[in-house]
Amino acid sequence: MRKLKIFCKGLFSSGRLWYNPFIPFSTEIDGVNLTPDTPCAFAKLDRMQFHSIEFIFYFLPAFLAVYYVLRGAARQTVLAAGSLLFYGFAAGWRLLPMGSLLAAVSLGYLGGLLLGRWPKRWALLPLCAVFAGGLVFFKLYLGGVLLPVGMSFYVFQLIAYLADIVRGRISPEKDPLRFLAETSMFPRLLSGPIADSAELQRDCRAPRVGLFTFHMGLQEFVLGLALKVILANRLGGLWAQGAVYGFEAVSTPFMWLALVTWCMRLYFDFYGYSLMAVGLGHMLGYNLPMNFLEPYSAKSVSEFFRRWHATLGRWFRDYLYIPLGGSRQNTARTILNLAVVWAVTGFWHGVGGGYLLWAGVLFLLIVNERLWLRRLLDKSRVLCHVYVVAVILLSWVPFAAGSVQETLVVFRRLFGVGGVGAMEDFRHWIPMTARLFALGLFFATPVPKLLWRRLQKKAWADLGILALFWACLYFIATSAQDPFIYFQF
């Protein structure tokens, strides 16, 4: 009983130990009594996320067992309860995020019933204003620090739900539990994807649970996990190392290497996460949309953003750009609409000069493409790809650097202002990153997906997936000693 208490305490305390799932309470070692909240140098663990040991070994198996045993409406209840539990872990059981989620969901529920009775545009506006206001309040007024986990995503999902009721695409959800399950299902609670509300509603009423979807979901989950843990997490270290060196003194080749690895990390991190979400959705019988459609093979910046975080782009198109008039009116109006969309996009990503700069530059590029550049780009495919990759890589700099001053420093180093530098750093890091780097380049092309489509059907594909899973676990477990990460000097 005491052990159980310690164990539970450990589970709920934020700075807890990182334990062996099979030795959850290592009590006595060398005569020293250990509790799960004994401080530990490398115990700083992410709060529950898809790639954490807690999620993979405790939460997911337990949840799936219950979910599969039950049938019918009970499944939705379990999904709702499990999602709240998951959110509790993810948000560290703090009142503000939990309260915000529940308040937003209740408001969405009541608003849906209301709009079902009077499907009028004027009734929709105040509801959306409340949601958007909440987001603005947290991001602007509280500086984004207290922004509840996943709020940007569930708020957008709720707005889409309400707008679709007004448009008559869906009917309002009457069952509050089912509504809770639908809007806050844990696979897409923290970082999307923002699903199509009609499809979500259909799936929630009759989830297609079966061995086939489970198998597919499991494969996708492991592939996503591998992208996140084996590629993204390890590629991210080089940028951090550059920050430790101080960017003003690194050599130009090193700066490029760091920037490219940072962009890879961003891509595989989010791509891996989205793939895991889709996989989890399949395991639960839901069909969630893919967020990333090989963005780096796009031929223009506007196409890149239709493939990059596609569900967010679709949301902006359907619920902001088209209601504003889209591109059906004159050119000036179209540009204005684009400006609004990109301003909101910049704000959605974060508050600060860097984000606005990022959005502004992309807006200018996209307008430019629409008006003049497209004609030039249509002439050569190679030119398109070079242009997109170069522009996109550079456009991430304000994101990576974080502040405007740091952005300027990075740009100066990227273009060798004040000398290229002594390259020792580059020579030192290139052998260590070369393999990961090559792997990253390979996975940024559409080839792996095509390859996987062919191999997927083979019987031994599952063995590969299993091996990959163990490799992921190994990297999760040893990430504390990753030389990239600064636990060692």
Partner: protein, 362 residues
Amino acid sequence: MKFRYIGLGVSIGASLAALVAVGSYQKETILRPLDLDGGVETVAVPFLLATDGDLKLQVEAAREIRAEEARVPVPQTFSPEESGPAETNPPETNPIETAPPVTEPPETSPAETEPPETTPPETVPTEPAPTETTPPETAPADSGPGGEELPFTPGTAGVFEPGPMVDESWFDNALFIGDSRTDGLRLFSRVGKADYFCSTGLSVYKVLKTECSDKNFASQKLESLLDSRTYGKILICLGINECGGRLDAYVRAYGQLLDTVRAKQPDAVIILQAIMTCSPKKEAQNACFSPANIYQRNEAIRTFADGQTVFYIDVNTLFAGEDGYLPDGFSSDGCHLYAKYYPLWVDWMRCQVYDIPVKGQE
């Protein structure tokens, strides 16, 4: 199709069973020494984690010491080992230094008599001051201003007045041994034709077991490198990775390293570099990065210096602030200097070694 799913199920089940077996077998493999000098030396037992050699070695070293203490019934007034962080080193380092004399006699007779009666003041003549005055940095360290004992050396926070300094070619037959901080020196201010045997995470426990490579030599262990080349100067800077472990284990491993180096390179001058302190931010992450703890270790390192062939230089006199911490603006992670400061470190070093007598160079 069904057959495939059965296969999947069986393989998942089998690997889970394997995990259970390995998990329960591995109960004690990985331990994290955290406490500085007290009895608590182990904390976490993460799973699947048999890779951290350094932790294992630290724990092994600590256990060896403990086992020896248990066997030998209190040698020479030595018992306060468990009495928490001791401010005075000599009694603590004595029992550890019983190991060095075994191998040390062959080379230098003055050094041979040194270990038993080590006294910190010995380093005073060895400290070549940048200007011709007596070393300003060692004086306040021994007895702080106003009688109150400062556990650290107050530095000048990067303000450096160059005195006479050696040419960069002085380092042509030098070998740097160190961790990631020396790695920074190598990457951002390489000097002369010096060799650098360093890697991220290197510690005194690992240094003899790790293979490193550099521009001028292929990947190999330290001993084989020392066998294959002759160095005039060997600069050692190790200690930040060991901060969380026990002091006595650290000093002992440090002594073993010195013995090895001395045996392989009898004519080389050995220069021991102090551990650079960290910023308050770093200390907030883990108390073992406090200047007090680091300086306690530096004192222990200093006792190895004899002023004849082994010297001690303290970089904290350059970078540390008045309070002994590494000031803000020198580092983003609180532990590693910004790349632009490594040349300053080298310039300072060139001043510090100016007075060190080197065989064949006078």
